[in-house]
């Protein structure tokens, strides 16, 4: 293993910004994990697939609306449509998950391990349905009509070349405009969400349920609705993450969710699970650490860094960087 410090120090600003961009995406996905965990103490293993479906919704919208030939206002309009499509798709999947894979278990007060197994099962089903979409549409004789969308079911589906990604320089540092868009919009979403959970009635309901479900329901908070809202918000944020991810990396496939999901969960734990601001911090720290680490150690160690960081943080500070709490009360 060679340590390449020279490269690292020469490119520190660029490495940091790219790292922050990845971190912002982790953070948006991490929100889904952290909120569901805060309210249900459940690791929503299938949240990674919520994200994955969002990336395909984005990709297909771009293809359907012909973004390759568009530019200017037209292109912006298509991108906004793609953003909404991704958010809608992810939200629908998240709500479906809650309805089918979790609610029956929550109703029966099943052990958490069982809910996790159900989540793992749902995750397999969702990923495989996407991976087998060519075969499934074939059963209905739709594979010809949908050929652009269902072909290459098992490999990377790319939208490279649709977007120009201009770079600009500030003080000699070359910055990708996409990175800036990703970071700014992700952080803006997080701030909005944080304010929403803090101030709105629904947000208060979520926090109350996270702290004490029984008392919350006695006080008139509808637990089922609150849980639905939690999944919905997590899904919407995963949709935004999917959109930004596609802007940045252009390609997706049916298994893209898994590793990203694990890392996003790592980010959530890193920041302190159940804690919204922790998710943001955890995501950013993870993204930057990963990018720095791979610059020094080589890209093949990228994924190891994430896990080593997680293990270390948990050993030093078991409740994560900012501590656990969705409502601030469970410090």
């Amino acid at each position: 293993m060679n340590l390449n410090f020279e490269f690292f120090f020469n490119n520190l600003p660029e490495l940091t910004i790219t790292g922050l961009a990845f971190g912002a995406i982790y953070a948006l996905i991490a929100l889904g994990y952290t909120m569901v965990y805060g309210v249900l103490q459940l690791i929503n293993f299938a949240h990674s697939e919520v994200f994955m479906y969002g990336t395909f919704a984005m990709l297909w919208t771009i293809m359907a609306l012909g973004a390759a030939d568009a530019n200017g206002v037209h292109l912006v309009a298509i991108l906004i449509a793609a953003l909404f499509a991704a958010m809608a798709m992810s939200a629908v999947i998240a709500l479906g998950l809650e309805r089918i894979a979790y609610r029956p278990l929550i109703k029966r007060n099943a052990p958490r391990l069982i809910a996790l197994i159900s989540a793992i099962g749902a995750s397999f089903v969702l990923a495989e349905l996407m991976g087998l979409r060519d075969k499934i549409s074939g059963w209905f004789g739709l594979d010809d009509d949908l050929s652009d969308y269902v072909q290459k079911a098992k490999i990377n589906n790319s939208m490279a070349g649709v977007l120009e990604k201009p770079r600009f320089e500030i003080a000699g540092v070359s910055i990708s405009s996409i990175d800036v868009i990703v970071i700014v919009s992700a952080v803006a979403m997080m701030v909005l969400l944080d304010q929403f959970v803090r101030r709105s009635r629904l947000g208060k309901g979520i926090r109350a349920t996270a702290q004490d479900p029984e008392t919350a329901s006695l006080m008139g908070v509808n637990p089922t609705r609150t849980i639905q809202m939690t999944f919905l918000i997590g899904g919407l944020m995963a949709g935004v993450a999917a959109f930004l991810y596609m802007l940045k990396l252009d390609a997706t496939n049916y298994q893209v969710g898994f590793l990203l999901g694990v890392k996003a969960f790592t980010a959530a734990v890193l920041g302190g699970i159940g804690n919204l601001r922790g998710a943001l911090l955890g995501g950013l720290v993870l993204g930057v650490a990963e990018n720095w680490g791979q610059a020094i150690l080589g890209s093949e160690w990228r994924d190891v860094i994430a896990f080593v960081l997680l293990v270390l943080i948990l050993l030093v500070r078991p409740t994560g960087l900012l501590g656990e709490s969705l409502g601030k009360a469970r410090a």
Partner: protein, 378 residues
């Protein structure tokens, strides 16, 4: 089960002996309903035996002690890699010497991982172990000393008994014709030659390991150690206040699990003769966990059934290969929803359910009259 436990002891021993005999003879019988048309039946059975071993080990961690381990494949990998390194890549140890070392290395790694992490909360343990499993694999991928992505081949095989050509004796397989069953003298298994093509001796080796681990499981579970594990799972604080050193017992469960996982990995490596990091994907940790939960965590027979199903069904139905994972995922969701305690829940859970049922039916009536001493077990 009820009837079985009521039998006198010699009859019980006889029945268990027959069951074991059947298990050992399974690959020779080539039963048409069980056989796997698209892959070598004995190889499939060997895989099943390895899954059984893994499931028994993981059941100690998850089922008995209640510790959620999502990176169990890491210990499996440590066992496999230790054997690979010692017998082939960096040494030429005999396998029988390498296996104990592999098992001890796995156990030590269990202690090293467990000592700091078993103090943190249960859900975090899941994630730390998940990370651990991935780290082990990624380190193997990226380290030339461990063979990198290419992996390691020529891993040592178990020693042969008897002459290489014939073994001590040859055991014929059965041949099922149309309505007739014949001894097939052309298709024989040499006792006991660990070669390339015939997987039957490896299956016997795997099955023997399963039987030994199963016995150890029964002995340990039915002792202070087993009770301490269960008490810790049920209520850690209360267990501690009843004098159970819970941390010590959690660590013991974790390292015992690692021990069994390492053993499974070592046997796997010696059968495959070749390993690479692809054999130790995170997916396997999840499959192992699924085997434990599907079968009924906490019940050793349940997890054996689960292991059998998880390892065997995909091989039996290779024709539907594309839809294997999909069906598996659906099965997990359905199982969690419809039968959350697994296919074969611990007998006590069954009893509790029955009692609940009886009470519901009877509202009031004579309570089931057990005599304490008669039903009490040693």
């Amino acid at each position: 089960m009820k009837k079985l436990s009521a039998l006198p002891k010699p009859a019980k021993i006889l029945i268990w002996f027959l069951i074991a005999l059947f298990a050992y003879a399974l690959p020779l019988l080539e039963l048409p309903i069980l056989s796997t048309p698209d892959s070598d039946f004995a190889s499939v059975l060997f895989t099943v035996s390895i899954y059984c071993l893994v499931a028994l080990g993981l059941n100690i961690v998850v089922g008995y002690a209640g510790l959620l381990d999502l990176g169990y494949v890491g210990f499996y990998a440590i066992g496999a890699y230790t054997v690979a390194i010692l017998t082939s890549f960096h040494g030429s140890w005999p396998l029988l010497l390498a296996i104990p070392v592999a098992v001890v290395v796995a156990m030590i790694s269990g202690v090293i991982l467990g000592a700091p992490t078993l103090r943190v909360r249960g859900d975090y343990l899941a994630i730390v172990t998940l990370g651990f499993g991935e780290i082990i694999r990624l380190v193997a991928v990226n380290t030339e000393w461990l063979g990198g992505n290419k992996g390691i081949n020529n891993i040592g095989r178990p020693p042969n008994l008897g002459d290489e050509k014939t073994g001590l004796f040859e055991v014929p397989h059965l041949f099922w014709g149309d309505g007739t069953v014949l001894l097939d003298n052309k298709d024989t298994t040499k006792f006991l030659i660990f070669g390339y093509s015939d997987a039957v001796p490896y299956y016997w080796m795997g099955l023997t390991a399963v039987v030994l681990v199963l016995l150890a499981d029964i002995l340990i579970k039915n002792s202070r150690v087993g009770r301490a594990w269960e008490a810790t799972r049920e209520d850690e604080d209360a267990a501690e206040l009843m004098g159970v050193p819970t941390f010590k017992f959690k660590l013991l469960a974790f390292s015992t699990g690692a021990f069994v996982g390492g053993l499974a990995g070592a046997l796997f490596a010696s059968r495959q003769s070749f390993i690479n990091p692809q054999s130790f994907l995170l997916l396997f940790s999840i499959l192992y966990l699924a085997a434990v939960v599907v079968g009924g965590q906490g019940n050793r027979w349940g997890v054996l059934l689960g292991a059998f199903l998880v390892a065997y069904l995909p091989e039996r139905f290779r024709g539907f290969e594309d839809f294997r994972v999909l069906a598996f995922g659906l099965a997990l969701v359905l199982l969690a929803t419809l039968r959350p305690e697994g296919l074969l829940p611990p007998r006590r859970t069954v009893r509790a359910k029955q009692l609940e049922h009886e009470l519901d039916e009877l509202e009031e009536g004579a309570e089931p009259d057990h005599d304490g001493e008669e039903t009490a077990r040693a």
